[in-house]
């Protein structure tokens, strides 16, 4: 019975994640901890596995459509993977209360960023590194490479600590600093999320913190959910759902922060 509850929860997380353009992790971890009372460390480890699954599944589609810039991804993964190691080591020192509070803050940030309508940025000047490494595409220049690398390090740390893909930060860096077109930054971010999450998911798996009774139904559920969500997205009014979900996300973020504070007392 509990297995099916897990499966159902993760299918819903996968559907919502695909419709809202968020990774499943940001929905899964609060659902597992607040609704199903799973310890946040197990929730983070299991969520990372599901993030690898959904990201790899989506990346295979984006690659076929040629939106993914593999050269940019290769360079930026240096930042995310280094950050993921730092995050995994930090996770061994940090306690559950601090994790709850940090997750609450990250949820709140995600809700605020959802308010912002993504627009294709005006083309920026090509950065010297982008020129040397031929990162720019046929119809766009790549700017602000060092800034983006810095944000990727932070994204890697947060991914390992909180069990999320940190796609919202990656996209922010690619839209804001690198001035990439929306489709390119979405596809490239998705492609990179798999590696970022695999860095810490593998570490959690080897250290024995990935519990298969939790991680397996969740991965199957989010994979199925994200496929359903991708199809539903074409028929739904995504803007309205985004607004409703933004409110829900804000409320859950406060609940997570309060749980962190309450456990601290």
């Amino acid at each position: 019975m509990f297995d099916f509850l897990l499966l159902f929860t993760s299918v819903i997380a996968g559907v919502l994640g695909a419709i809202l353009g968020l990774g499943g992790g940001i929905i899964l971890v609060p659902a597992l901890t607040l609704l199903l009372h799973v310890n946040i460390r197990y929730a983070v480890a299991a969520s990372l596995i599901s993030v690898v699954a959904t990201s790899s599944g989506a990346a295979s589609t984006y690659l076929k459509d040629n939106f993914t810039n593999v050269r940019i991804a290769t360079l930026l993964e240096v930042g995310t993977v280094t950050g993921a190691i730092a995050g995994f080591l930090l996770a061994q020192k940090i306690n559950s209360t601090e994790l709850y509070f940090l997750f609450g803050c990250m949820l709140f940030l995600s809700a605020v960023l959802m308010l912002k309508n993504r627009k294709t940025p005006l083309p920026g000047d090509e950065h010297a590194w982008a020129k040397n490494l031929k990162l720019s595409g046929a119809n766009y220049n790549v700017a602000g490479v060092p800034w983006a690398l810095g944000v990727m390090f932070v994204a890697g740390v947060l991914s390992a600590l909180l069990g999320i893909g940190s796609g919202i930060l990656k996209v922010l860096a690619m839209d804001g600093a690198m001035k990439l077109p929306i489709k390119v930054s979405t596809a490239t971010s998705n492609f990179m999320i798999g590696v970022t999450a695999a860095a810490s998911a593998g570490a959690y798996l080897l250290s024995g913190d990935v519990r298969p009774e939790l991680a397996v139904p969740i991965s199957i559920g989010t994979l199925a959910g994200s496929r359903i969500g991708a199809r539903l997205m074409l028929k739904m009014e995504a803007a309205l759902i985004r607004k409703i979900f933004m409110i829900v996300l804000t409320l859950v973020s406060f609940q997570m922060m309060l749980k962190g504070l309450a456990l601290h007392e």
């Binding site: 050269r71 024995g208 991680a215 397996v216």
Partner: protein, 116 residues
């Protein structure tokens, strides 16, 4: 390269999903109402210890689940590895170095985690 990477990820996700599904179905317990062992964090035994015990006790469902999980996590790592020769062939030394660096860091990260 994009097409090859796309196929690698697609078939890898399908295979790992199938392994996990088989493992999960074979260990399914319809009477379980909660997982009390998951509500409190306990220091875990390492994966090597867990797998050794599972082999000794012939827990094939659990082993299948772990095989699926390991394959899933290995997919992006393998994906990084295959880009190294691709960039070397293209004479893109810096990008080949970046991909090799990411691959080495991933392996080092996994090695470090064995101590926790």
């Amino acid at each position: 390269m994009n097409k090859k990477l796309s196929e690698l990820l697609r078939y890898g996700v399908l295979t790992s999903g199938l392994l996990m599904l088989l493992g999960w179905l074979s260990t399914l317990d319809f009477n379980k109402k909660s997982l009390p062992s998951l509500s409190e964090y306990q220091t875990s035994a390492s994966l090597v210890t867990i797998l050794t015990q599972a082999i000794e006790q012939s827990q094939w469902g659990l082993l299948l689940s772990y095989a699926g999980l390991a394959l899933l996590v290995a997919l992006p790592v393998f994906r990084v590895f295959v880009t190294i020769p691709f960039f070397i062939k293209q004479n893109e030394k810096i990008l080949a170095f970046a991909a090799a660096f990411v691959f080495v860091i991933l392996i080092v990260n996994f090695a470090i985690s064995l101590d926790f």
